[in-house]
């Protein structure tokens, strides 16, 4: 359980954010300038807000009304920064052991090294590591500090797509195995979809929405990362792996097909379907190459400033969002309550949008 309340004025910008996050991984989601980094730095004690309260379980890390604001080194943190921030004058091994030494709890090094595949890197210096390797070391360093709270500030933002795909599974494991809460800052809907137990949406320094990834991302009113990043999250299960390289998923009784995923049959998955990859049809399409067709009912239509509209559809698999033009919405006669089919190309479901639930 993590409780955060921060009020801080910085010139014309006012940060006034308060939220409580249940155990698991809480993503602070918002575009740059929304105040995400200020919030996480206040939680870390790197910044002292005008007013603030931070509590992890029973431990109060700060409460300005009582004159308490612990310095960072007394907060028992594991902070994973965007740029890694490894110590260049220490070897990878010394970097890993740095926080452990101050924690005094001497967690064993080997399981962390093994989980993150750091064995071959131990004697190297950070200067000789790739971006992905640096981030793996940074994760290990944070874990070995035996933290009571793990913080991550856009830990994937500086990496290319391939490296992101390499690091994301480690955060999924962290979410599933860590015994402490994780606060994770991101502006990527894909990361929210894959990682979040809870999402807190920040906009102009205020919390505008909080909920599970599926709830928040499927809400057409929430578009902090821009309209192009909108997409609904479906909770599905692996049904079968087929010989032609496809994996069949069970989405609330509806079959969906994806390029082969590594998870075993029966494993729960989360997939994110970007709204701009969804085509709508009034009749069940015939003679179409797309394999995924979801029958549903229009729940709402939200028109933006431009020519586009965001249609939200209730299907047996869950809420699906589709971004279409206003013209086609009119031509199809779309309105709340109208029956409709959502069509999704198999290859349109990006690999980084598929993760373990």
């Amino acid at each position: 359980m993590l409780e955060v309340a921060v009020r801080h004025r910085l010139g014309a910008f006012t940060l006034e954010a308060a939220f409580e996050a249940p155990p698991g991984l809480c993503v602070l989601f918002g575009r740059s300038g929304s105040g995400k980094t200020s919030v996480i730095n206040a939680v870390a004690g790197l910044m002292r807000p005008d007013e603030g309260r931070v509590r992890v379980g029973e431990r109060v890390l700060g409460d300005t009304s009582q004159g308490i604001w612990l310095p960072p080194h007394k907060r028992r943190l594991g902070y994973i920064f965007q740029e890694g921030r490894l110590f260049p004058h220490l070897s990878v091994r010394q970097n890993l052991l740095y926080g452990r030494w101050f924690a005094g709890s001497l967690l064993p090094l080997d399981p962390v090294v093994e989980m993150l595949g750091l064995g071959p890197l131990l004697t190297r210096r950070p200067g000789a590591l790739s971006g992905g390797e640096k981030q793996r070391v940074a994760i290990g360093r944070a874990l070995l500090a035996d933290p009571g709270l793990i913080l991550a500030d856009e830990p994937l933002a500086a990496l290319d797509e391939a490296r992101k795909r390499e690091i994301l599974p480690y955060f999924e494991r962290l979410r599933d195995e860590a015994r402490c809460p994780i606060l994770y800052v991101s502006h990527s809907a894909g990361e929210v979809a894959r990682l979040a137990t809870t999402v807190v949406v920040l906009q102009d320094g205020r919390v505008v929405r909080q909920g599970t990834a599926a709830e928040v991302l499927s809400d057409p009113a929430v578009t902090p990362a821009g309209i192009r990043a909108v997409g609904a999250v479906l909770e599905v299960r692996v049904a079968a792996h087929h010989d032609d390289g496809l994996t069949e998923l069970d989405a609330g009784g509806v079959p969906l097909y994806l390029p082969r995923v590594p998870q075993a049959v029966g494993a729960p998955l989360r997939i994110r379907i970007a709204a701009q990859e969804v085509i709508l049809a009034r009749q069940r399409p015939e003679g179409l190459s797309a394999l995924n067709i979801l029958a549903g009912k229009v729940d709402s239509i939200r028109e933006g400033d431009g020519p586009g509209a965001l249609v939200s559809l209730d299907t047996a698999a869950g809420r699906v969002l589709a971004r279409v033009t206003r013209r086609s919405a009119e031509k199809l006669g779309l309105a709340p309550g109208v029956d409709c089919f959502a069509v999704v190309k198999t290859v349109a479901i990006a690999r980084e949008d598929v993760g373990t639930a």
Binding site: A44, L46, P71, P72, H73, R75, R76, L77, G78, Y79, F81, E83, R85, F87, P88, H89, Y98, G99, W101, F102, A103, R124, R125, P126, G127, A128, L129, R141, A142, A145, L151
Partner: protein
């Protein structure tokens, strides 16, 4: 080694001793002031910066004379120091003080540059991992500025070896007490037939200076390779 006369040896030994202690004594003060100038904001920062640099700009004779009028046993400060058993006037400790003050600006500049080059974000990272401010300084800042500290120390040492004007004004030119290498060269040049001695000392001075430069180059290259990875 009999290619130097005992008097010449005396000057070389004294110079090395004076410069060594000048450097060692100035180092902690220099590091502290360099850190303050690089990282802290406080009223009077520009004045402190100016004061530190003053010996670099003032004529050395002026610095020496200022030392003389403040620290001579008859002056208030000097009198107080003498009463607690510290005397700088006309002995080698005075020469070390003058040399240390003259080398101080060079030392502080080198160290300040290297402290400014340390990313405060690394220090923040160390703090989030449980290191208090003292530990952050000892385990992150200091190791990373070590090349700058060494460079500053070597510069300060080299400057101390060459210091002449402030020293001779402050503590005069007493063989065996305050006659450092440059003072000795000067003295030998004042007497007929002293050129040979002066030349030998000049050779020593050049050798020491070259050695100091090579050493600092070597150290900074080693440290750079270590930090750079590979």
């Amino acid at each position: 080694m009999d290619w130097l006369s005992p008097a010449e040896w005396e000057a070389v030994r004294l110079s090395l001793r004076v410069s060594f202690w000048a450097t060692v004594a100035a180092l902690p003060f220099g590091l502290f002031i360099a850190y303050a100038l690089a990282r802290w904001r406080f009223p009077g920062k520009q004045i402190l910066n100016g004061l530190v640099h003053l010996p670099l700009i003032l004529p050395p004779v002026v610095t020496g004379y200022l030392l003389l009028i403040t620290l001579s046993p008859r002056a208030p400060v000097g009198g107080f120091l003498k009463s607690i058993g510290i005397s700088f006037a006309f002995n080698w400790t005075g020469a070390a003080l003058a040399a240390g003050i003259m080398g101080f600006p060079l030392m502080v500049r080198a160290m300040r540059l290297s402290i400014e080059a340390v990313d405060p974000k690394l220090e923040q990272a160390a703090a989030t991992l449980g290191a208090s401010r003292t530990w952050v300084f000892a385990t992150v800042t200091l190791p990373m500025v070590l090349p700058g500290v060494l460079a500053g120390a070597i510069l300060g040492f080299a400057k101390a070896m060459g210091e002449f004007g402030a020293t001779i004004t402050f503590v005069s030119n007493i063989p065996g007490q305050t006659q450092t290498l440059p003072s000795a060269i000067y003295a030998f040049l004042q007497v007929p037939g002293g050129e040979a001695s002066a030349l030998r000392l000049v050779a020593v001075a050049v050798a020491v200076a070259m050695l100091a430069l090579l050493l600092s180059e070597w150290i900074s290259r080693r440290v750079a390779a270590r930090v750079g990875g590979a």
